[in-house]
Protein backbone atom coordinates (compact mmCIF):
# COMPACT_ATOMS: atom_id res chain seq x y z
CA UNK A 1 0.00 0.00 0.00
CA UNK A 2 2.84 2.32 0.78
CA UNK A 3 4.68 4.25 -1.90
CA UNK A 4 8.34 5.23 -1.67
CA UNK A 5 8.93 8.96 -1.91
CA UNK A 6 12.43 10.30 -2.35
CA UNK A 7 13.48 13.65 -0.89
CA UNK A 8 16.48 15.74 -1.86
CA UNK A 9 18.08 18.66 -0.04
CA UNK A 10 18.41 21.80 -2.17
CA UNK A 11 19.90 25.15 -1.30
CA UNK A 12 17.63 28.05 -2.09
CA UNK A 13 19.87 29.49 -4.81
CA UNK A 14 19.39 29.99 -8.53
CA UNK A 15 20.05 26.87 -10.60
CA UNK A 16 20.12 24.39 -7.73
CA UNK A 17 16.67 22.93 -8.45
CA UNK A 18 17.17 22.74 -12.21
CA UNK A 19 20.45 20.85 -11.84
CA UNK A 20 18.79 18.02 -9.97
CA UNK A 21 15.81 17.75 -12.29
CA UNK A 22 18.22 17.69 -15.24
CA UNK A 23 20.20 14.83 -13.69
CA UNK A 24 17.01 12.76 -13.46
CA UNK A 25 16.00 13.63 -17.02
CA UNK A 26 19.35 12.50 -18.37
CA UNK A 27 18.90 9.16 -16.64
CA UNK A 28 15.50 8.79 -18.35
CA UNK A 29 13.54 9.06 -15.14
CA UNK A 30 9.99 10.40 -15.39
CA UNK A 31 8.69 12.35 -12.43
CA UNK A 32 5.12 11.30 -11.70
CA UNK A 33 4.53 14.08 -9.23
CA UNK A 34 6.50 16.24 -6.86
CA UNK A 35 6.33 18.91 -4.22
CA UNK A 36 8.82 21.45 -3.05
CA UNK A 37 8.92 22.62 0.56
CA UNK A 38 10.87 25.82 0.77
CA UNK A 39 12.33 28.08 3.42
CA UNK A 40 14.40 31.21 2.99
CA UNK A 41 17.64 29.22 2.97
CA UNK A 42 16.85 25.75 1.67
CA UNK A 43 14.23 23.57 0.10
CA UNK A 44 13.24 19.92 0.22
CA UNK A 45 12.29 18.43 -3.14
CA UNK A 46 9.99 15.42 -2.76
CA UNK A 47 9.52 13.16 -5.75
CA UNK A 48 7.39 10.22 -6.74
CA UNK A 49 8.99 8.18 -9.53
CA UNK A 50 8.46 4.62 -10.69
CA UNK A 51 12.05 3.50 -10.23
CA UNK A 52 12.89 5.24 -6.99
CA UNK A 53 15.99 3.18 -6.37
CA UNK A 54 17.48 4.25 -9.70
CA UNK A 55 16.55 7.88 -9.04
CA UNK A 56 18.12 7.72 -5.60
CA UNK A 57 21.28 6.24 -7.12
CA UNK A 58 21.45 8.94 -9.81
CA UNK A 59 21.07 11.76 -7.29
CA UNK A 60 23.50 10.24 -4.81
CA UNK A 61 26.05 9.74 -7.57
CA UNK A 62 25.68 13.47 -8.23
CA UNK A 63 26.63 14.07 -4.61
CA UNK A 64 23.15 14.78 -3.29
CA UNK A 65 21.72 13.81 0.06
CA UNK A 66 18.64 11.65 -0.56
CA UNK A 67 16.16 10.19 1.86
CA UNK A 68 13.33 7.75 1.20
CA UNK A 69 10.05 8.00 3.05
CA UNK A 70 6.90 5.90 2.95
CA UNK A 71 3.86 7.86 1.86
CA UNK A 72 0.31 6.92 0.87
CA UNK A 73 -1.44 7.58 -2.44
CA UNK A 74 -5.09 8.09 -1.67
CA UNK A 75 -8.04 8.44 -4.01
CA UNK A 76 -10.26 11.40 -3.50
CA UNK A 77 -13.49 12.36 -5.24
CA UNK A 78 -12.70 15.10 -7.76
CA UNK A 79 -15.57 17.40 -6.74
CA UNK A 80 -16.21 20.11 -4.16
CA UNK A 81 -16.04 18.52 -0.72
CA UNK A 82 -14.06 15.48 -1.86
CA UNK A 83 -10.92 16.38 -0.01
CA UNK A 84 -12.81 17.76 2.98
CA UNK A 85 -14.56 14.41 3.47
CA UNK A 86 -11.27 12.54 3.24
CA UNK A 87 -9.62 14.81 5.79
CA UNK A 88 -12.56 14.37 8.16
CA UNK A 89 -11.97 10.63 8.12
CA UNK A 90 -8.29 11.19 8.81
CA UNK A 91 -9.04 13.60 11.65
CA UNK A 92 -11.60 11.26 13.14
CA UNK A 93 -8.89 8.59 13.27
CA UNK A 94 -6.65 10.93 15.27
CA UNK A 95 -4.04 10.66 12.53
CA UNK A 96 -1.50 13.41 12.07
CA UNK A 97 -0.80 14.63 8.51
CA UNK A 98 2.79 15.82 8.12
CA UNK A 99 2.21 17.17 4.62
CA UNK A 100 0.37 16.35 1.40
CA UNK A 101 0.37 17.18 -2.27
CA UNK A 102 -1.67 16.33 -5.35
CA UNK A 103 -1.26 14.55 -8.66
CA UNK A 104 -1.74 16.54 -11.80
CA UNK A 105 -4.21 14.18 -13.42
CA UNK A 106 -7.66 12.82 -12.67
CA UNK A 107 -9.03 9.34 -13.31
CA UNK A 108 -12.71 8.62 -13.80
CA UNK A 109 -13.74 11.54 -11.62
CA UNK A 110 -11.18 10.80 -9.00
CA UNK A 111 -7.98 12.62 -8.10
CA UNK A 112 -5.04 11.15 -6.23
CA UNK A 113 -3.33 12.85 -3.34
CA UNK A 114 -0.02 11.95 -1.73
CA UNK A 115 -0.08 12.04 2.06
CA UNK A 116 2.82 11.87 4.45
CA UNK A 117 1.47 10.63 7.80
CA UNK A 118 3.23 10.39 11.09
CA UNK A 119 1.92 6.80 11.30
CA UNK A 120 1.12 5.43 7.83
CA UNK A 121 -0.11 2.04 9.08
CA UNK A 122 -2.71 3.61 11.35
CA UNK A 123 -3.78 5.78 8.41
CA UNK A 124 -4.22 2.79 6.10
CA UNK A 125 -6.37 1.02 8.67
CA UNK A 126 -8.53 4.07 9.30
CA UNK A 127 -9.02 4.78 5.57
CA UNK A 128 -9.79 1.22 4.54
CA UNK A 129 -12.31 0.92 7.35
CA UNK A 130 -14.18 3.74 5.61
CA UNK A 131 -13.77 2.19 2.19
CA UNK A 132 -11.38 4.85 0.93
CA UNK A 133 -9.02 3.68 -1.76
CA UNK A 134 -5.35 3.61 -0.96
CA UNK A 135 -3.41 2.83 -4.11
CA UNK A 136 -0.43 0.56 -4.23
CA UNK A 137 2.53 1.30 -6.46
CA UNK A 138 1.29 -0.86 -9.36
CA UNK A 139 -2.08 0.90 -9.47
CA UNK A 140 -0.53 4.29 -9.06
CA UNK A 141 1.97 4.04 -11.88
CA UNK A 142 -0.50 2.33 -14.19
CA UNK A 143 -2.80 5.29 -13.80
CA UNK A 144 -0.08 7.86 -13.92
CA UNK A 145 1.83 6.53 -16.87
CA UNK A 146 -1.00 4.79 -18.67
Amino acid sequence: MKIQQISVFIENRPGHLAAQIRALAEAGINIVTLSLADTEQFGILRLIVRDWEKAKGVLEAAGRVVKTTEVLAIEVEDRPGGLAELLEVIDAGGINVEYMYAFTYGFKGRAVMIFRFEDPDAAIAALQAKGIGVLDAVDLFRRAEG
Binding site: E11, A37, Q41, I44, V65, K67, R116
Partner: protein
Amino acid sequence: MRTLWNDAGGEFHPVCAPDFLPLDRLQGLQLQRLRATVKRAYENVALFRGRMEERGIRPGDIRSLDDIRSLPFTEKTDLRDTYPFGLFASPMNEIVRVHASSGTTGKPTVVAYTEEDIEVWASVMARTFACNGLHRGDILQNAYGYGLFTGGLGAHYGAEMLGMTVIPISGGQTDRQIMIMKDFGVTAISCTPSYFIHLVERAGELGIDLRDLPIRAGIFGAEPWTEGIRRHAEEQAGIKAYDIYGLSEIIGPGVASECTEQGGIHIFEDHFYPEIVDPKTGEPIPDGESGELVFTTLSKKAMPMIRYRTHDITSFITEECACGRTIRRVKRVGARSDDMFIIRGVNVFPSQIEAALLAVEGVQPHYQIILTRQKGLDQMEVQVEVTPELFSDQVRDLESVQRRISKSIEGTVGIRAAVRLVEPHTIERSMGKAKRLIDNREK
Protein backbone atom coordinates in the same frame (compact mmCIF):
# COMPACT_ATOMS: atom_id res chain seq x y z
CA MET B 1 61.26 66.07 31.45
CA ARG B 2 59.38 67.26 28.40
CA THR B 3 55.77 68.25 28.42
CA LEU B 4 54.11 65.10 29.61
CA TRP B 5 50.64 66.05 28.84
CA ASN B 6 49.00 66.81 25.57
CA ASP B 7 45.70 67.72 26.96
CA ALA B 8 44.86 71.18 28.28
CA GLY B 9 43.53 71.02 31.80
CA GLY B 10 45.31 67.77 32.61
CA GLU B 11 47.85 67.40 35.33
CA PHE B 12 50.52 64.76 35.64
CA HIS B 13 49.45 61.76 37.65
CA PRO B 14 52.31 60.08 39.52
CA VAL B 15 51.13 56.61 38.45
CA CYS B 16 52.39 57.53 34.95
CA ALA B 17 55.98 58.09 36.04
CA PRO B 18 57.31 54.71 34.77
CA ASP B 19 56.27 55.71 31.22
CA PHE B 20 59.14 58.22 31.26
CA LEU B 21 61.93 56.30 33.04
CA PRO B 22 65.41 56.72 31.60
CA LEU B 23 66.33 53.57 29.67
CA ASP B 24 69.00 52.34 32.12
CA ARG B 25 66.64 52.70 35.07
CA LEU B 26 63.89 50.91 33.15
CA GLN B 27 66.15 48.01 32.19
CA GLY B 28 67.50 47.73 35.74
CA LEU B 29 63.95 47.49 37.04
CA GLN B 30 63.02 44.95 34.36
CA LEU B 31 65.95 42.68 35.22
CA GLN B 32 65.30 42.81 38.94
CA ARG B 33 61.62 41.97 38.36
CA LEU B 34 62.37 39.30 35.79
CA ARG B 35 64.64 37.46 38.20
CA ALA B 36 62.01 37.58 40.94
CA THR B 37 59.29 36.38 38.53
CA VAL B 38 61.34 33.47 37.22
CA LYS B 39 62.15 32.43 40.78
CA ARG B 40 58.49 32.66 41.79
CA ALA B 41 57.34 30.66 38.76
CA TYR B 42 60.01 28.01 39.32
CA GLU B 43 59.23 27.60 42.98
CA ASN B 44 55.43 27.61 42.77
CA VAL B 45 54.31 26.31 39.37
CA ALA B 46 55.05 22.69 38.46
CA LEU B 47 54.79 23.32 34.71
CA PHE B 48 57.42 26.08 34.71
CA ARG B 49 59.74 24.19 37.06
CA GLY B 50 59.47 21.03 34.97
CA ARG B 51 60.25 22.82 31.72
CA MET B 52 63.21 24.68 33.21
CA GLU B 53 64.59 21.48 34.69
CA GLU B 54 64.30 19.78 31.29
CA ARG B 55 66.58 22.48 29.92
CA GLY B 56 68.87 22.43 32.93
CA ILE B 57 68.08 26.05 33.80
CA ARG B 58 67.82 27.35 37.34
CA PRO B 59 66.38 30.77 38.28
CA GLY B 60 69.87 31.98 39.24
CA ASP B 61 71.00 31.52 35.62
CA ILE B 62 69.00 34.58 34.59
CA ARG B 63 71.61 37.33 34.94
CA SER B 64 70.72 39.66 32.09
CA LEU B 65 67.59 40.56 30.16
CA ASP B 66 68.95 38.64 27.15
CA ASP B 67 69.07 35.48 29.27
CA ILE B 68 65.27 35.42 28.94
CA ARG B 69 65.85 33.68 25.59
CA SER B 70 66.98 30.52 27.38
CA LEU B 71 63.57 30.17 29.01
CA PRO B 72 60.87 27.96 27.48
CA PHE B 73 57.77 29.46 25.83
CA THR B 74 54.28 29.22 27.25
CA GLU B 75 51.26 28.65 25.02
CA LYS B 76 47.51 29.09 25.46
CA THR B 77 47.22 25.29 25.44
CA ASP B 78 49.26 25.26 28.67
CA LEU B 79 46.42 27.11 30.38
CA ARG B 80 43.96 24.59 29.02
CA ASP B 81 46.08 21.61 30.04
CA THR B 82 46.37 22.89 33.60
CA TYR B 83 42.70 23.96 33.83
CA PRO B 84 41.49 25.45 36.07
CA PHE B 85 44.12 26.49 38.63
CA GLY B 86 47.32 24.68 37.59
CA LEU B 87 49.35 27.79 36.75
CA PHE B 88 48.53 29.67 39.96
CA ALA B 89 51.64 30.64 41.90
CA SER B 90 49.74 31.88 44.94
CA PRO B 91 47.62 29.94 47.42
CA MET B 92 43.88 30.48 47.03
CA ASN B 93 43.68 32.57 50.18
CA GLU B 94 45.85 35.21 48.50
CA ILE B 95 43.84 35.25 45.26
CA VAL B 96 41.17 37.92 45.34
CA ARG B 97 39.84 37.65 41.77
CA VAL B 98 39.62 35.25 38.86
CA HIS B 99 38.58 36.01 35.29
CA ALA B 100 38.11 33.62 32.40
CA SER B 101 38.16 33.78 28.63
CA SER B 102 37.18 31.36 25.91
CA GLY B 103 39.47 28.38 25.47
CA THR B 104 40.14 26.18 22.48
CA THR B 105 37.93 23.26 23.51
CA GLY B 106 34.99 24.93 25.16
CA LYS B 107 36.62 25.09 28.59
CA PRO B 108 37.55 28.66 29.48
CA THR B 109 41.08 29.69 30.32
CA VAL B 110 41.25 30.95 33.86
CA VAL B 111 43.44 33.79 35.13
CA ALA B 112 43.99 34.96 38.72
CA TYR B 113 44.97 38.08 40.61
CA THR B 114 46.27 38.84 44.10
CA GLU B 115 45.42 42.14 45.74
CA GLU B 116 48.76 43.47 44.51
CA ASP B 117 48.05 42.25 40.96
CA ILE B 118 44.73 44.12 40.97
CA GLU B 119 46.61 47.26 41.98
CA VAL B 120 49.18 46.83 39.19
CA TRP B 121 46.37 46.21 36.73
CA ALA B 122 44.55 49.36 37.83
CA SER B 123 47.81 51.31 37.46
CA VAL B 124 48.45 50.17 33.89
CA MET B 125 44.87 50.94 32.93
CA ALA B 126 45.19 54.37 34.60
CA ARG B 127 48.33 54.88 32.48
CA THR B 128 46.37 53.75 29.42
CA PHE B 129 43.70 56.39 29.95
CA ALA B 130 46.38 59.01 30.68
CA CYS B 131 48.05 58.02 27.39
CA ASN B 132 44.70 58.70 25.73
CA GLY B 133 44.70 62.25 27.12
CA LEU B 134 42.12 61.59 29.84
CA HIS B 135 42.32 62.72 33.45
CA ARG B 136 40.36 63.65 36.59
CA GLY B 137 37.23 65.47 35.49
CA ASP B 138 36.59 63.21 32.50
CA ILE B 139 33.41 61.15 32.52
CA LEU B 140 34.00 57.64 31.17
CA GLN B 141 31.21 55.47 29.85
CA ASN B 142 32.69 52.03 30.29
CA ALA B 143 30.85 49.86 27.80
CA TYR B 144 33.20 46.89 27.98
CA GLY B 145 31.40 43.87 29.39
CA TYR B 146 31.57 43.42 33.13
CA GLY B 147 31.92 39.85 34.28
CA LEU B 148 34.30 37.00 33.52
CA PHE B 149 35.69 39.04 30.61
CA THR B 150 38.57 41.22 31.82
CA GLY B 151 37.55 44.30 29.83
CA GLY B 152 34.87 45.82 32.05
CA LEU B 153 36.45 45.55 35.49
CA GLY B 154 39.97 46.17 34.17
CA ALA B 155 39.01 49.52 32.63
CA HIS B 156 36.83 50.38 35.62
CA TYR B 157 39.57 50.14 38.26
CA GLY B 158 42.06 52.04 36.12
CA ALA B 159 39.66 54.88 35.42
CA GLU B 160 38.90 55.23 39.12
CA MET B 161 42.59 55.24 40.01
CA LEU B 162 43.14 58.09 37.57
CA GLY B 163 40.29 59.96 39.24
CA MET B 164 37.82 59.87 36.36
CA THR B 165 34.08 59.50 36.88
CA VAL B 166 33.13 56.00 35.74
CA ILE B 167 29.73 54.99 34.43
CA PRO B 168 29.83 51.18 34.69
CA ILE B 169 27.21 50.65 32.01
CA SER B 170 28.73 47.43 30.58
CA GLY B 171 27.79 46.27 27.04
CA GLY B 172 24.52 46.27 25.14
CA GLN B 173 21.28 48.30 25.40
CA THR B 174 22.45 50.74 22.78
CA ASP B 175 19.56 53.21 23.03
CA ARG B 176 20.13 53.52 26.77
CA GLN B 177 23.88 54.00 26.16
CA ILE B 178 23.11 56.89 23.81
CA MET B 179 20.68 58.48 26.26
CA ILE B 180 23.19 58.31 29.11
CA MET B 181 26.03 59.56 26.91
CA LYS B 182 23.95 62.62 26.10
CA ASP B 183 22.35 63.24 29.51
CA PHE B 184 25.49 62.65 31.63
CA GLY B 185 27.82 64.70 29.47
CA VAL B 186 30.11 61.72 28.80
CA THR B 187 33.57 62.77 27.53
CA ALA B 188 35.02 59.32 26.75
CA ILE B 189 33.78 55.83 26.01
CA SER B 190 35.57 52.52 26.32
CA CYS B 191 34.24 49.62 24.21
CA THR B 192 35.07 47.48 21.21
CA PRO B 193 35.48 49.54 18.03
CA SER B 194 32.76 47.55 16.27
CA TYR B 195 30.31 48.31 19.05
CA PHE B 196 31.12 52.00 18.81
CA ILE B 197 30.45 52.01 15.07
CA HIS B 198 27.12 50.36 15.81
CA LEU B 199 26.38 52.97 18.48
CA VAL B 200 27.15 55.83 16.07
CA GLU B 201 24.79 54.37 13.47
CA ARG B 202 22.03 53.89 16.01
CA ALA B 203 22.49 57.44 17.30
CA GLY B 204 22.06 58.64 13.71
CA GLU B 205 18.79 56.70 13.42
CA LEU B 206 17.62 58.41 16.62
CA GLY B 207 18.53 61.79 15.16
CA ILE B 208 21.47 62.35 17.51
CA ASP B 209 24.77 63.60 16.11
CA LEU B 210 27.57 62.59 18.47
CA ARG B 211 29.61 65.53 17.16
CA ASP B 212 27.24 67.80 19.06
CA LEU B 213 27.97 66.01 22.37
CA PRO B 214 30.94 66.56 24.75
CA ILE B 215 32.41 63.12 23.97
CA ARG B 216 35.97 63.52 22.69
CA ALA B 217 37.72 60.15 23.06
CA GLY B 218 37.04 56.51 22.26
CA ILE B 219 39.18 53.88 24.00
CA PHE B 220 38.91 50.93 21.69
CA GLY B 221 40.30 47.45 22.08
CA ALA B 222 39.58 43.74 22.54
CA GLU B 223 39.58 43.16 18.77
CA PRO B 224 41.80 44.16 15.85
CA TRP B 225 40.67 47.21 13.92
CA THR B 226 42.00 49.39 11.19
CA GLU B 227 42.81 52.95 10.20
CA GLY B 228 39.64 52.91 8.08
CA ILE B 229 37.52 52.25 11.16
CA ARG B 230 39.47 54.90 13.05
CA ARG B 231 38.78 57.54 10.42
CA HIS B 232 35.13 56.57 10.30
CA ALA B 233 34.72 56.73 14.11
CA GLU B 234 36.62 60.01 14.39
CA GLU B 235 34.71 61.71 11.58
CA GLN B 236 31.27 60.44 12.49
CA ALA B 237 31.54 61.08 16.23
CA GLY B 238 33.96 63.99 16.46
CA ILE B 239 36.33 62.09 18.75
CA LYS B 240 39.90 60.85 18.89
CA ALA B 241 39.91 57.05 18.63
CA TYR B 242 42.67 55.25 20.53
CA ASP B 243 43.82 51.67 20.21
CA ILE B 244 44.47 49.80 23.43
CA TYR B 245 45.89 46.29 23.66
CA GLY B 246 45.77 43.55 26.21
CA LEU B 247 45.14 39.89 26.78
CA SER B 248 43.80 38.17 29.83
CA GLU B 249 46.70 35.71 30.07
CA ILE B 250 49.05 38.66 30.66
CA ILE B 251 46.69 40.82 32.74
CA GLY B 252 43.74 41.92 30.59
CA PRO B 253 43.45 45.37 29.03
CA GLY B 254 46.35 47.61 30.01
CA VAL B 255 49.28 45.76 28.41
CA ALA B 256 49.83 48.52 25.84
CA SER B 257 48.13 51.66 24.57
CA GLU B 258 48.37 54.37 21.98
CA CYS B 259 49.22 57.84 23.21
CA THR B 260 47.75 61.02 21.75
CA GLU B 261 50.32 60.81 18.92
CA GLN B 262 48.41 57.73 17.65
CA GLY B 263 51.59 56.23 16.26
CA GLY B 264 51.76 52.68 17.58
CA ILE B 265 51.05 51.22 21.01
CA HIS B 266 53.33 51.86 24.00
CA ILE B 267 53.94 48.72 26.03
CA PHE B 268 53.92 49.16 29.80
CA GLU B 269 57.16 47.28 29.80
CA ASP B 270 58.05 47.84 33.42
CA HIS B 271 55.36 45.16 34.02
CA PHE B 272 55.23 43.23 30.73
CA TYR B 273 58.51 42.42 29.04
CA PRO B 274 58.06 42.22 25.28
CA GLU B 275 60.01 40.17 22.75
CA ILE B 276 59.33 39.78 19.04
CA VAL B 277 60.34 36.40 17.67
CA ASP B 278 60.18 34.46 14.45
CA PRO B 279 56.83 32.63 14.76
CA LYS B 280 58.29 29.50 13.15
CA THR B 281 61.66 29.17 14.88
CA GLY B 282 61.01 31.14 18.07
CA GLU B 283 64.33 32.93 17.53
CA PRO B 284 64.65 36.68 18.13
CA ILE B 285 64.50 38.89 15.06
CA PRO B 286 66.09 42.30 14.48
CA ASP B 287 64.24 45.33 15.85
CA GLY B 288 61.89 46.78 13.27
CA GLU B 289 61.12 43.47 11.56
CA SER B 290 57.75 41.75 11.88
CA GLY B 291 57.34 38.77 14.13
CA GLU B 292 55.26 37.29 16.92
CA LEU B 293 54.81 39.27 20.09
CA VAL B 294 55.84 37.36 23.24
CA PHE B 295 55.31 38.61 26.79
CA THR B 296 56.82 37.79 30.15
CA THR B 297 55.02 39.30 33.11
CA LEU B 298 57.39 41.09 35.47
CA SER B 299 55.13 41.81 38.46
CA LYS B 300 52.29 39.29 38.41
CA LYS B 301 52.08 37.30 41.64
CA ALA B 302 49.04 35.03 41.27
CA MET B 303 49.85 33.90 37.76
CA PRO B 304 53.27 34.77 36.41
CA MET B 305 53.62 34.11 32.70
CA ILE B 306 56.94 33.23 31.14
CA ARG B 307 57.42 34.01 27.44
CA TYR B 308 53.75 33.74 26.58
CA ARG B 309 53.17 33.49 22.84
CA THR B 310 50.41 35.88 21.82
CA HIS B 311 50.35 34.78 18.14
CA ASP B 312 49.89 38.48 17.36
CA ILE B 313 52.17 39.74 14.59
CA THR B 314 53.79 43.16 14.94
CA SER B 315 57.16 44.93 14.99
CA PHE B 316 59.03 47.30 17.29
CA ILE B 317 59.00 50.97 16.32
CA THR B 318 62.58 52.11 16.78
CA GLU B 319 62.06 55.89 16.64
CA GLU B 320 61.37 57.82 19.83
CA CYS B 321 57.78 58.91 20.30
CA ALA B 322 57.02 62.63 20.26
CA CYS B 323 55.03 62.21 23.47
CA GLY B 324 58.27 61.75 25.40
CA ARG B 325 57.50 58.28 26.75
CA THR B 326 60.56 56.07 26.91
CA ILE B 327 58.66 52.80 27.02
CA ARG B 328 58.84 51.04 23.67
CA ARG B 329 56.17 51.05 21.01
CA VAL B 330 55.04 48.34 18.62
CA LYS B 331 52.86 48.73 15.56
CA ARG B 332 49.15 48.17 15.98
CA VAL B 333 48.35 44.48 15.99
CA GLY B 334 46.37 43.14 13.05
CA ALA B 335 47.50 39.81 11.68
CA ARG B 336 47.86 36.64 13.70
CA SER B 337 50.16 33.66 13.28
CA ASP B 338 47.33 31.21 13.99
CA ASP B 339 43.73 30.96 12.82
CA MET B 340 42.15 32.64 15.83
CA PHE B 341 39.63 35.36 15.02
CA ILE B 342 37.96 37.91 17.24
CA ILE B 343 34.28 38.62 17.04
CA ARG B 344 32.55 41.14 19.32
CA GLY B 345 35.58 41.08 21.60
CA VAL B 346 35.57 37.30 21.99
CA ASN B 347 38.51 35.19 20.85
CA VAL B 348 37.34 32.25 18.77
CA PHE B 349 39.30 29.44 17.16
CA PRO B 350 37.71 27.54 14.25
CA SER B 351 38.52 24.38 16.22
CA GLN B 352 36.01 25.52 18.86
CA ILE B 353 33.31 25.84 16.24
CA GLU B 354 34.27 22.43 14.95
CA ALA B 355 34.00 20.92 18.44
CA ALA B 356 30.58 22.54 18.86
CA LEU B 357 29.41 21.09 15.52
CA LEU B 358 30.63 17.61 16.28
CA ALA B 359 28.78 17.69 19.59
CA VAL B 360 25.56 17.61 17.52
CA GLU B 361 24.66 14.10 16.39
CA GLY B 362 24.98 13.51 12.66
CA VAL B 363 27.07 16.59 11.91
CA GLN B 364 30.26 16.03 9.94
CA PRO B 365 33.15 18.49 10.18
CA HIS B 366 32.40 20.06 6.78
CA TYR B 367 31.79 23.66 7.64
CA GLN B 368 32.80 27.20 6.92
CA ILE B 369 32.69 30.30 9.10
CA ILE B 370 31.73 33.52 7.37
CA LEU B 371 32.21 36.83 9.17
CA THR B 372 30.46 39.96 7.99
CA ARG B 373 29.78 43.36 9.44
CA GLN B 374 26.20 44.62 9.31
CA LYS B 375 25.32 48.03 10.71
CA GLY B 376 28.66 48.05 12.47
CA LEU B 377 28.07 44.77 14.27
CA ASP B 378 30.03 41.62 13.56
CA GLN B 379 27.93 38.68 12.41
CA MET B 380 28.98 35.06 12.23
CA GLU B 381 27.39 32.61 9.86
CA VAL B 382 28.36 28.97 10.04
CA GLN B 383 27.63 26.93 6.92
CA VAL B 384 27.31 23.23 7.52
CA GLU B 385 27.00 20.56 4.85
CA VAL B 386 23.90 18.40 5.14
CA THR B 387 24.61 14.71 5.72
CA PRO B 388 22.25 11.75 5.20
CA GLU B 389 21.98 11.50 9.02
CA LEU B 390 20.84 15.12 9.32
CA PHE B 391 18.57 15.21 6.31
CA SER B 392 14.82 14.76 6.62
CA ASP B 393 11.87 15.12 4.28
CA GLN B 394 10.40 17.58 6.78
CA VAL B 395 11.30 21.25 7.08
CA ARG B 396 10.83 21.37 10.83
CA ASP B 397 13.39 18.61 11.38
CA LEU B 398 16.00 20.58 9.44
CA GLU B 399 15.13 23.75 11.31
CA SER B 400 15.58 21.85 14.54
CA VAL B 401 19.04 20.73 13.33
CA GLN B 402 19.92 24.39 12.69
CA ARG B 403 18.76 25.34 16.17
CA ARG B 404 20.70 22.54 17.85
CA ILE B 405 23.89 23.54 16.03
CA SER B 406 23.37 27.20 16.87
CA LYS B 407 22.82 26.38 20.54
CA SER B 408 25.91 24.21 20.66
CA ILE B 409 28.04 27.01 19.17
CA GLU B 410 26.62 29.59 21.55
CA GLY B 411 27.23 27.26 24.47
CA THR B 412 30.85 26.79 23.43
CA VAL B 413 32.01 30.26 22.42
CA GLY B 414 29.26 32.48 23.83
CA ILE B 415 28.48 34.04 20.45
CA ARG B 416 25.28 33.42 18.54
CA ALA B 417 25.82 32.19 15.00
CA ALA B 418 23.39 32.01 12.12
CA VAL B 419 23.54 28.41 10.91
CA ARG B 420 22.99 27.74 7.22
CA LEU B 421 22.66 24.21 5.90
CA VAL B 422 24.29 23.74 2.51
CA GLU B 423 24.43 20.93 -0.02
CA PRO B 424 27.14 18.32 0.44
CA HIS B 425 30.51 18.87 -1.21
CA THR B 426 29.83 22.57 -1.77
CA ILE B 427 32.24 23.99 0.79
CA GLU B 428 35.38 24.94 -0.99
CA ARG B 429 38.32 22.71 -0.27
CA SER B 430 41.65 24.18 -1.18
CA MET B 431 44.65 21.88 -1.50
CA GLY B 432 42.79 19.11 0.26
CA LYS B 433 42.26 21.27 3.31
CA ALA B 434 39.01 23.10 3.82
CA LYS B 435 39.20 26.85 4.16
CA ARG B 436 37.47 27.34 7.48
CA LEU B 437 37.24 31.07 7.77
CA ILE B 438 36.09 33.74 5.36
CA ASP B 439 36.36 37.17 6.91
CA ASN B 440 34.37 39.68 4.87
CA ARG B 441 34.44 42.37 7.52
CA GLU B 442 35.64 45.75 6.36
CA LYS B 443 39.40 46.01 6.57
